[in-house]
């Protein structure tokens, strides 16, 4: 049972800082390098590290495939929904000025970027985890000599 004890402990110590770093990249993306896509990938790295050390079955207990599919769709819905909301308010598609009261367009810009980048991050993180699960849960091919 206690194989790779050091690896398990170090991974458990590293996973929360990786998630925190992903959130930093997500919300600091306006002022430095970063944004929704990068933050989503970093967030997925935390889950991938967990799956590598503890097995994919353990990961699917934490985030089942249904949750991953819902996350992928929800992110796109959040992105497109922001655009459709501004359409319904009578502005252009994804015109963030629709999200604030008239005369305060910069507040709408802040809120709009936050929503859109949140959608991108959610979709990218779910898609990355789903791709890793799809590859890793495939059992390796048996060679002819192994029969």
């Amino acid at each position: 049972m206690e194989h790779h004890f050091i690896l398990r402990v170090i991974s458990k110590m590293l996973i929360p800082p990786i998630m925190l770093y992903a959130l930093y990249v997500q919300f600091h993306g306006d002022f430095g390098p970063g944004g929704g896509f990068q933050a989503g990938v970093i967030f997925a790295v935390a889950f991938i590290l967990y799956a590598i050390v503890f097995g994919v079955e353990t990961l699917t207990l934490v985030c089942p495939p249904a949750v991953l599919r819902a996350g992928m769709a929800l992110g796109v819905l959040l992105y497109a929904g922001t655009g459709v909301y501004s359409l319904l308010r009578g502005y252009n598609y994804l015109d963030y000025a629709a999200l604030a009261e008239p005369g305060h367009a910069e507040h709408g810009q802040h809120l709009g970027i936050l929503l859109v980048e949140g959608g991108v991050g959610l979709t990218v993180a779910s898609a990355m985890i789903a791709i890793f699960v799809a590859f890793a849960s495939r059992s390796p091919d048996i060679k002819d000599t192994d029969w």
Binding site: H3, I48, I52, G55, A136
Partner: protein
């Protein structure tokens, strides 16, 4: 001072590459790739300081994290012949 630091980083990169090519066993090569990643982190930090863009430190930190995860993935793949298997019930 930056010239000296960058020269030192390049020399260690060359030495690590020689070890990665010549390494007799798999573990020498994996260790060389891991060390190359660490030196790359230093390189990114140096480039950030030379070009006066401290944002590069964020990228260096991220590179260190991804380097660690990548090394773990390579080692697990060669030890267990697949990434998905649980490491708890390994019989060997």
């Amino acid at each position: 001072m930056f010239v000296a630091a960058i020269t030192a980083v390049f020399i260690s990169m060359a030495l690590i590459l020689i070890r990665a090519m010549a390494g007799p066993t798999l573990y020498d090569r994996v260790l060389a790739v891991n060390a190359f990643g660490t030196v790359t982190v230093l390189m990114i930090g140096l480039i950030g300081f030379v070009t006066d863009r401290p944002d590069f430190l964020d990228i260096a930190l991220l590179y260190a994290l991804i380097n660690f995860v990548g090394t773990i993935a390579i080692l697990k793949f060669f030890r267990y012949r697949g990434l998905g298997r649980s490491t708890a019930d390994a019989s060997e």
